[in-house]
Every structure is written in C-alpha cells, then in structure tokens.
Symmetry: C2
Subunit: 708 residues, 2 copies
C-alpha cells in the first residue's frame, strides 16, 4: 500500500473521537439537573448562550459571505491562476467546522453546569466526573471534527478530483486553514468581549461598589456573566483549538511536499493525530478517584490521565515515525514539541499559580495599594515570557537540526536548500506532536468553565455553602490544568506560525520568476516587521478597549437597576437579567468586527504596498511580538486572578480587606488580558499567515513596489 | 580643500554651543534664589542630587573598569584583530562625555529651581525665562560635548595616528557609541528608578493614604521626589540624548564608507549638526513674550523658537547637502527625518495632551473606577503606536529610496548592492536630520523638571498660591513641549538602530570569508528575533519592578515616620527627609545594574550560541519590539499623568473625588512606564547594536553553531 492511499486512517480517528464524545455526552445527560430553581437558572444561561451564538453566527456569516465572494471572484476570474478554485469552498467548510466545534462545546457545557452543581452536592468526586465528561465531549469533538475535515478534503481532492501531486494537494489544503482561523478569531474575540464585559461589569458594580458577593442573584449581570463563560471560555476556546489543531497539521502538509517527504510526510501528522486520539481515550479512563477525595488527589488523577496519554503517545510515535518517514531525527522533533509543550505548561503554572512565589509576591504587593498590584502584575507577565521564549527557541532549534536542517538556508541561486526544507518539516511536525493528545488536554481545560458555572448556579439557587466550596475547588483545579492546556496551545501556535511563514515563502517563490530576497536588513522586510509589531499592539488595544466599552454599558445598566428597581437589594424583586444579556450581546457583536478585519486587511494592504518581502517581515514581526504579547497577557491575567483568590483564602487580611480591594482591581484589569486579548493573539498570528498565503497570487501580481 | 580636512568645523560648532551654554548659565545665576527657606530647600535638593550622582558614578565606574579591562584584553591579546586597540579608550571617553552631559544639566537645574520659583513670584514670563535658560544650558552642553567628542577622536585618529582610510576610521569611530550608550543606560535606568521610586512612594502614602497635597513639606519623601526630578529627568535625559546625538552621527559615519561617499558622507552629518547648533541659537532668541503673558502665548513663543530653528536648519541643509555629497536625494532623506520627527511629536502630543479626545476619554473612564482607567490607558498607549510606526515606516522607505536605494538588496554573491548601501546612508542621515536642532528641542524639554522643582519649592516654602499656579502652568507647558522632544528622540533612535543593524552586518561580513545569510526565515535569525522580543519584555519588567521594589521601601519608611514622629502631621516637627533620600539612592543603585547588564550579556551570549545571524535576528527583534514598546509605555504614562491633571483642573468631580482617586492609580502606574522603562528602551536598542558591533570579532571567531 502506498502512503497516499492510507489516509482513510483519518476517518478511523474521527469516528473514534466523535463516538467517544457521544458516549460521554449521553453519560452526562443521565445526571439530574437538580431543583426547579437550578433548572430555571440553567435554562436562562442556555437560552442566553444560544441566543448570543445564533446572533454571532449570523453576523459572522455575513462577513464570510463577503470574503467568499471575493475569493470566488479572484479564483474564477483568474481561472485558478491567482487562487485555487477549491479555496473559496475550503474557506467556508473550515469556518463551519470550527463553528461547530465551539457550538457543540457550548451545548454540552450549558447542559452540564446544573448537573455538575447537583452532583457536587453529593460528592466532590461526582462533581468532577460530570464536569470532566462534559470537557471530554468538547475535547474529542474538536479533534474528531478536525480529522473529519482533513480526511474529507483529502478524499475529495485526491479521489474525486484526481489531484495526485503531493505539492499541489498540500498547497490547496493549507489554504483551508484560513476559514477555521477566521471563524476562531471571531469566536474568541466576540466570546472574549462578551464574557469579560459581563464579568468586569458585574464585578465593578456588584463586588466593588455594592459589596455583594460574586454570582449573587441580586446582581443583574450575573446571568450574563455565566452566559459569558459558555460563549467565551467554551465556544471561543473550542473554535480556537480546532483551528490550532487543523492548522498545525495542514502547515506540516505544505512543508512535507517541499521537504521531499511527499505523501509520507503528510500521512505522518494524520497518524500522529489518530494515535493521539486513541491514547487520549485511554488516558481519560484513568481520570477517577475514590469517593470523597480531596483536591490534591483530584489534581493527581487529572494529571495521571494527561501525562499517561502523552507518554503513551510519545512511545507509539517512535515506531510510527520511523516506519512512515524513515528518519529518527523527525521523531526527535516530535519529542521536542511534546516536551516543549509540557515545559511551557509547567512555567505557565509556575508564574500563575498561587502555590509558587511569583503570585504570592504579587498578592503581597497589594499591601501598598492597587497601583503596585498593577505594576507588579505587568512586570510578572513580562518576565514570564523568558521561559516560554527560551523553550520555543530550544524547540525550534532542536526540531530543525534534528530533522536534518543545516545553517545553509539558501543555495547559490537564492532558493532554499534541501536541508533547510527538511529542518522546517521538523518544526512543523513538532507543532503537531505538541497537540497530538489535544483530546484529553482540552478536556481538562474545558471542564473549568463548567465548574465555574456550577458554582454560579449553586450560589444563585441557594445550595448549601459546602456545595459552593466543592465547586470552587473544582474551579480552582480547572485554573491549574488550564495553564497546562494554554501552554500547549500557545507553544504549538508559535511553531505552526513559523511553518506557515516558510510555506508562504515557498508558495510565493513558485509564483515569481525572479528569486525573492528576504534578508532581514532589506528595508521592505524591516518595515514589514514594524507593521507586524504594530498589528499586534493595535489588535490588543482594540480587543481590550472593546471589553471596556462593552463593560461600561453594563456598569451603567447595573447601576440603573440598583437605583430604579425598588427592593432589589433586599432580594424582594428580581433584577432584569435579560437586559444585561442583551447589552453584552450587542456590545460583543459590535466590537468584534473591527479587530477581526484588521487581521485580514493589514496583511493584504502590506502585500499590495510592500510586496511579498514586506509580508514576510510582517509575518515575522507578528509571530514574534504576538507570541511574546500573548504569553505576557495570559500570564499577567492569570497571576492577578490567582493573587486575588490567594487573598480570598485568608492571606493579607482576606476577603473585604484593603488588600483584597487592591487585588480585585488587578483581577479586573487582568480579565481582558487573559480571556480576550491574550488568547486571540494566537489566532491572529496564524490568520495573518493563512490570509497571506491565500492572497499570495494577488499580491505577486499587483504590488506597488514592483510597479514603481 | 578635501573633505577629510574640513572636520575642524566640528570644533567650531562645539565651541559655539558650549559658549552659548556658558552665557546662559551666567544669566541664570544672576537671578536671586529667594528667601532663606527657599535657599535651604534648594540646597537640600542640590545636596541630595550631588550625593546620588557621586554614588551612581562610582558604581558605574566600577562596571566601566571591568568592561574596559575585558575590551583591553580582547584588543591587545588578538593584536587588534578582534577589536581595534582604540576601542577600549573610546569606550571610556564616550562614557565620560555622556556622564558629563548629564552632570552639567543636573548642576544648572538644581541651581535654577529656586531661582525659577522666585522669578515666577514676579511674573510668569520671568519664570519662563529662567527655566528656559536653564534648559538651554543642558541642551547646548549636550550638543557641544557631542561635537567635541567626535571632533577630538577624528583628529586623533586621522592626524595623530594617520588613519587615512575612511572605512577604517569610521569603523573605529562607530564603536565609540558603546561607551555613551552604556553610560546613558545607567543614567536613565538609575535616575528613572530613583525619581519614580520617590514619586510613587511620596504619592502612595502622602496623597492617597494621608490625603496631603503634592510637595507638602510634611511628607518625608518630598525632598527625595524633587531630587529625583534632577537625577532622572535631567541627568538621565542629558546622558540619553547625548547618546542619541552622537550615535546617529557615528552610525552615519559607518554607512558613509560603504555607500561610497567616503569622507564627504562623514562630513555631512557634522556640518548638519553644526548648522543645527547655529540655527538653534538663533531660534532661542525668539523665545520671549510680553510681561504677564498667558500660557497660550508662552507656548506659542516656545513653538516659534523650535519651529524657526527647524525651518532655518532645513533651508540651510539644502545647499549644504548638495555641495557635500552632490545628491538631492540625500536632502530628501534629511527632510523626511526632520518632518517625521515633527509628526511623531505631534501625535505624541495628540495622544497624551488633555486638549485632545484620547486623554479626555481616558479621564472619563475614571467614572467606573481605577480598573477601567488602567485598561483605558493601556489600550490608548497600544493604539498610539500606529501613528509612530507608520511615520517611521514612511521615513525609512522615503529616505531609503530617495537616497538611491532599490529593491535589489543583495547581489548574486549575496553581498549588499551599491544601491542598498546608498539607500541605507539615507536612513542614517534622516536620523541625523531629525536631531540636528537638538540644542533647542532639548532646551524646551529640559526646562520642565526645573519648573516642576520650582513648584515644589514654592509649595514647601509657603509662597503665595499664585506662584504655585504659575509654576504649574510652566510645568504643564513643559509636558506639552516634552512630548515633541520625545518624538524626536524616539524617532531618531529607530532610524539609528536600523543604520547600526546594517553596519553590524557590513562589519561582520568583512570579517568572515563565507557569505553570511540573513534571510528572515532562517531558524537562527528567527530564534534571534524571539530573543530580541524577550529582551525588550524582560528589560521592561526589570526596570518596572525595580521601581516597585524601591518605592515599597519608601512607602514603608514614610508610613513609619508618620507613625513614629510625633507632631509631624501638625507641622510641629520636621520629617527626616535624608532617610528617604538615602533609601532612594540605595534602591536605585542596587536595582540599576541587572537591567543594564542584560543589554550587554544577552547580545554577546546570543552571538556566541547562534552566531552573527542570530545576532542580526536579535537586533531586528529588539529594534522593532523595543520601538513599539517604548512608544506604548511613554504615551500610556503621559496620558495617565495628564488625565489626572485634567480631572484636577475641575472635570469629573475634580481633586479629591472618586474619579480623581482612580486617576491617581493610573498616574502611579504610568510613572515607571513613562520615566523609567519607556525612555530606557531607546537606549537599550542602540546599546545592543553597538555591543554587537564591538564584540563582532569575538563572535565571528567563537560561536557554537559554527563549531558544531
């Protein structure tokens, strides 16, 4: 059997993953949703989330149609010269699958929150199992849909349209990433604005001004806050990681062709993904503890599952890699990716968990007020980039050189050497290796917001304090495991971005007769780098100020309700939850379009003005600055959140003290950092690359510098 | 007369500038220092500043001796192969001149503050004249010493050591920049930590906790705060701009040789600088108004002076440039630099002045508390990078192409084309053009801290409220003009950094037999870029947390004095000012060494591990990220400061309101942004470049990648 005929294995993986997700979702649904109050609250959250996502998808659909038509015109007007005729359709399917991944995650999460609260009222362990199963549904749906998308397109192109040349096929498929990235960016940004506008709005008036606890039913923004967890942390994250997963595999496809591995090199990432799915399923059976286990043993059981899956996956990858591409160096690259992901995860935890010195020191800085908390958090986040960047640097160099790369990057004619292409394939496959067990790492990540919601429902429906304590324990556990998940996502994003950058150069080079020069000292490259850094900064600014704009409208509304609805503070009359939900929806939809369009418009404009060399500079600039910024924002935000929790657990005067108030300011600033701007930057980096690749034909044909 | 024998003109410029500075300083000293109380306070500030600078120079001297010995060993052990034997000595002289520039500025500033307060008690215009004269002393001393340094070294090398080859001479001279940059970094970082630790410490306890006004004599940190203005905003800025001025000229020297302009291309920046000095002197005669002028006409008179100088300088530059290098394109490059600097200054003002929407909107965000002020300021700062980056991008492209650059960057053998080198010379000279009228722009910048101090003295010595109002008006005027000054400094830094980056490549290339490849897609270049971004982030973190550490010790001390010294709040007993001064000194000296060493160690280590291609990546990464970060931090900090002042002037509830309290948090966070981390980043970028150039011989000889 030749490798090109073995891609049915992708379907096997997809079926396995989706079947497992289905079984898990049936399991969750057998649990009770609890009392009528709980059912009612859960229903409002479900409704709010449904309504938001429906409207979000409607808005996004319009943008997709516009881009689709533009792509269609370019592809058919140039008769496939400037753009493959498949690309417009691949753009749509990528978007739809990515949307679906987020939607399924949201569906199960909003069905699991009350069930988790109810289960937690029986035991901590039972609560964990419901929440974790819900997380698994999302985790395995993401990887299953990803495999399905890749496999379907492969079969379509290879068997229905008879594209038998590996390079042509890979170059068409790598463009599929654009739809997924674009959808993911909308989902992350829109969801991120929604969730943080609600959260910040609820906290600013409720916690800080009125002095009522979090999730208090008297707070009009509390339902919106819980809806936000589902549309941002669940649906947004699902779309995001779908994009990362598919993106890393497709980037490796493109590199395989140029590295001379042909279909074998494309089969390898698919096989890695499939064996990763199997290992993740096995690992998830090990996530269980005795009844009435404490938090430490819960963490241990989650860890056992993920590490076991990673270890198994690493072991299976060895013979697999050698059989498929016959090169042990490539296996070293995969290991470098896997270990790099774990290492970034560890350092993310080190910098953001309150069991380590940095966050404890940050909590201590609250003694001198909120300004020092802010300065402390910013410098903590900036410092934390050292670990992540050194790890990525090491992973890049190890995977490159192990896979056969050398210092000779270009040959005498200015084209990439064969060794360079082999090394680059190593970087691409390292990114795939990092994400191979995404099924289970995402499950441990996605269960967090469910636990968070469960806590909200417990509070609002007046369940006993011990239930809230248990859901809080689950939630805080989720924060720790989420750190590891983020490490994998961010690490793979940087490797995928580098792989896509080189794919871009390859694709552009085949389209032009002259040898293009991408020397860093070239003024167009340098200016491109400046533009890339600028894009990162302005994108972060847009997403942050979007949260602020949306949050301020919530603040005004909550204050109005406190003032105008008589008896609200005594709990005698109900607040108007729906108006806050509607405001968040409106705000998020209104604010999400501009930053998302930036990611499309800036690379195209740069290309049209500066040409391909400017685009390469931009991609380099946005990859490097975006990565550093994403790590900074995520870690600063995480540390502020946990510093506040650390104080709440009784340090520095505990809840209600001046230190606590100072820490709440830090947490509020950190919210858009860690849940809106930071995670969106990962997607921005890759979207810029795929947009550049898709429009490369246009840019090679028309650019100002060439015409002058 | 051949151009190589015309460099005596540098001495003429130096003598003119220094003579003018001397005359101005005599003029300042004729004014009265006011009452005995004022004299006493001024003396304490002088003493504190003197004591700090003495200790700072002692500490820095030790580091300089270590680096000097290392350079000496490398130069003499390799018999000048790895490093010119002149470099160790040039390193020392560069440092000494830079130090002297800052020291003279501090001397005159501490002698002018009480005099300004006293003069302001007579009229606003009189106050302005004293303060502006004091600023002129510093401005012209900086440019005078810069010209002196360059001229002396030129004469020494050319006439005493008979180095008649332009390339050799330029390559030796470009290394002189390292000493100046290193000294400047210490002065900026150390001074920046001092001033902001004192300021933050004084504000946190005095204004926020105890509720006493700024500069209240009961606040034990108030003298330290005033000392800080002199050692940070004056001595630090002097050393910083000395470095920028000399750096831009020397970078152009290096590029002139490779661009084929030889001694003519080196003479041009010297002549530009000299005519700039003359134009600045002329311009400064126009800084005067009628007695009892209002603030608007004061601003107009300052503007008249600077714009007149710039315009004159631009006019004179036209025939000068054509005569010396015979190329109108080079003149366009100079204009691009000059206009670019003004444009960046304008946008800096737009984003940070409370007469424009952004800062007013920021002030309005205080309505919803300190968290939204922080988020708003961060996103304002991030957004503001768009204007600066687009302007620099335009300046780079215009100056490059106008001066003869083309898209063909390297020739068939991989070496830079003649057109590329010509274009690069354009970028270098644009940087010089931007700084040619530094004498007067720095004067308008340096007078700000003097006015600030004068206000402090007026408050502490109980002068009538109207005097304080006048000094406040002068101070706020200074904030506006400082924005323009910062625009020039930051813009020229980016152009100089790019010029130095290419000089590095040129120098390294001549030292290696094989053609080095600096393609952006090369893994070592990419990893270098990541390291560059990391260096920017971690440097910012170090400087910020240094301020925090030092400020916290001040907070503790001030609280202790309020608690332990009986009658302090009633004004019956004096606080112990000296202990705060001593604490700031200790803190600043302790914390400044690590970030300064980073800038030396990271480029060398990167070179030793990754080789020259990694270093080029690092320089690209640090230039791009550092520039964006510097603009972000400076503008965010400036906007927070002015948003607070806007509220204090009666908006959103005015002084003491909740909005004001929220704005004070923003201002406190912004302090290290705008006065410590932000401005230091300019120097970091250039220090990395010169360190890389100086150690290039070592790195070419020993690096891991080459040895593997």
């Amino acid at each position: 059997m030749t490798p090109e005929n073995l891609f049915w294995i992708g379907f096997v993986g997809a079926v396995l993953a989706i079947a497992f997700a289905y079984v898990q979702s049936r399991k969750v649904m057998t649990f009770s949703e609890g009392s009528d109050t709980m059912k009612k609250i859960a229903a409002s959250i479900r409704e709010g989330a449904n309504a938001y996502l429906r409207r979000q998808y409607t808005t996004v659909a319009k943008v997709f149609v516009v881009v689709f038509v533009i792509l269609l015109v370019i592809a058919f007007a140039s008769n496939g010269e400037m753009l493959s005729k498949f690309t417009p359709f691949a753009f749509i399917t990528g978007g739809v699958w990515s949307m679906l991944a987020g939607f399924v995650g949201m569906k199960i999460a909003t069905n699991s929150n009350a069930r988790t609260a109810q289960a937690a009222s029986e035991s901590l362990n039972k609560g964990l199992r419901v929440a974790f199963s819900s997380g698994s549904v999302m985790g395995f749906t993401v990887v299953g849909l990803g495999m399905l998308d890749i496999s379907i397109w492969y079969f379509l192109l290879h068997y229905a349209f008879h594209i038998t040349d590996a390079t042509t096929l890979a170059n068409i498929m790598v463009m599929n990433g654009m739809g997924a990235s674009f959808m993911a960016l909308f989902a992350r940004v829109g969801g991120g604005i929604y969730t943080k506008a609600a959260d910040v709005g609820a906290d600013l008036v409720g916690k800080v001004e009125a002095g009522i606890p979090e999730d208090d039913p008297r707070n009009p923004a509390t339902i919106a806050d819980n809806v936000g967890d589902n549309v941002g942390d669940v649906a947004g994250m699902g779309a995001d990681l779908y994009e990362s997963y598919v993106g890393s595999i497709l980037a490796t496809f493109a590199l395989s062709a140029v590295a001379g591995y042909g279909f074998s090199g494309m089969l390898l990432p698919v096989c890695l993904a499939v064996e990763g799915i199997v290992c993740s399923i096995i690992g998830s059976f090990f996530v269980k503890t005795k009844e009435n286990a404490d938090q430490k043993s819960l963490l241990k059981s989650l860890r056992t599952g993920t590490y076991l899956a990673a270890l198994l996956s690493a072991l299976v990858a060895a013979p697999l890699t050698y059989t498929i591409v016959g090169n042990w160096g490539v296996y070293v690259a995969i290991l470098a990716g896997l270990i790099g992901g774990c290492a970034i995860g560890y350092f993310t935890e080190y910098y953001t968990s309150d069991t380590y010195a940095p966050t404890q020191k940050l909590a201590a800085s609250s003694e001198t007020g909120s300004a020092t908390v802010i300065i402390g958090g910013i410098s903590l986040g900036l410092k934390s980039t050292v670990a992540s960047i050194l790890i990525v640097a090491a992973a890049v160099l190890i995977s490159y050189f192990a896979a056969g790369g050398s210092l000779n990057v270009v040959d005498a004619s200015g084209l990439f050497t064969a060794e360079f292409n082999k090394g680059l394939y190593g970087i691409g496959i390292a990114g795939v290796g990092m994400l191979s067990t995404l099924g289970i790492t995402l499950a441990t990540d996605a269960y967090g917001p469910v636990a968070d919601n469960a806590g909200g429902i417990a509070e609002m429906s007046g369940l006993p304090a011990e239930v809230r304590e248990r859901t809080d324990a689950l939630d805080s556990l989720g924060n720790t495991t989420a750190a590891t998940g983020k490490g994998f996502a961010i690490g793979s994003a940087s490797l995928t971005a580098l792989a896509l950058l080189v794919s871009y150069v390859d694709i552009v080079q085949t389209k032009t007769a002259e040898v293009l020069n991408f020397t860093l000292t070239s003024p167009t490259v340098l200016v491109g780098m400046f533009i890339g850094a600028m894009l990162t900064f302005v994108f972060s600014a847009f997403t942050m100020s979007a949260v602020q704009t949306a949050a301020q409208s919530i603040v005004v509304e909550v204050r109005r309700q406190f003032r105008e609805i008589a008896g609200i503070m005594e709990g005698k009359s109900d607040p108007d939850y729906a108006s806050c939900v509607a405001l968040c929806t409106k705000g998020a939809l209104h604010e999400m379009v501009a930053p998302a369009l930036l990611a499309i418009v800036v690379p195209i404009l740069t290309g049209l003005i500066l040409g391909p060399t400017g685009v390469v500079g931009l991609l380099g600039g946005v990859s490097v600055t975006g990565f550093a910024m994403a790590v900074f924002m995520s870690n600063a935000g995480g540390a502020w959140d946990n510093a506040k929790k650390y104080i709440e657990s009784g340090h520095h005067g505990g809840k209600g003290s001046d230190c606590h108030k100072a820490a709440v300011v830090g947490d509020t600033v950190g919210d858009p950092f860690k849940d809106t701007s930071g995670p969106s930057l990962n997607i921005l980096i890759k979207l810029c690359s795929t947009v550049s690749i898709v429009f490369s034909g246009l840019i090679v044909a028309f650019n100002l510098m060439n015409m002058l």
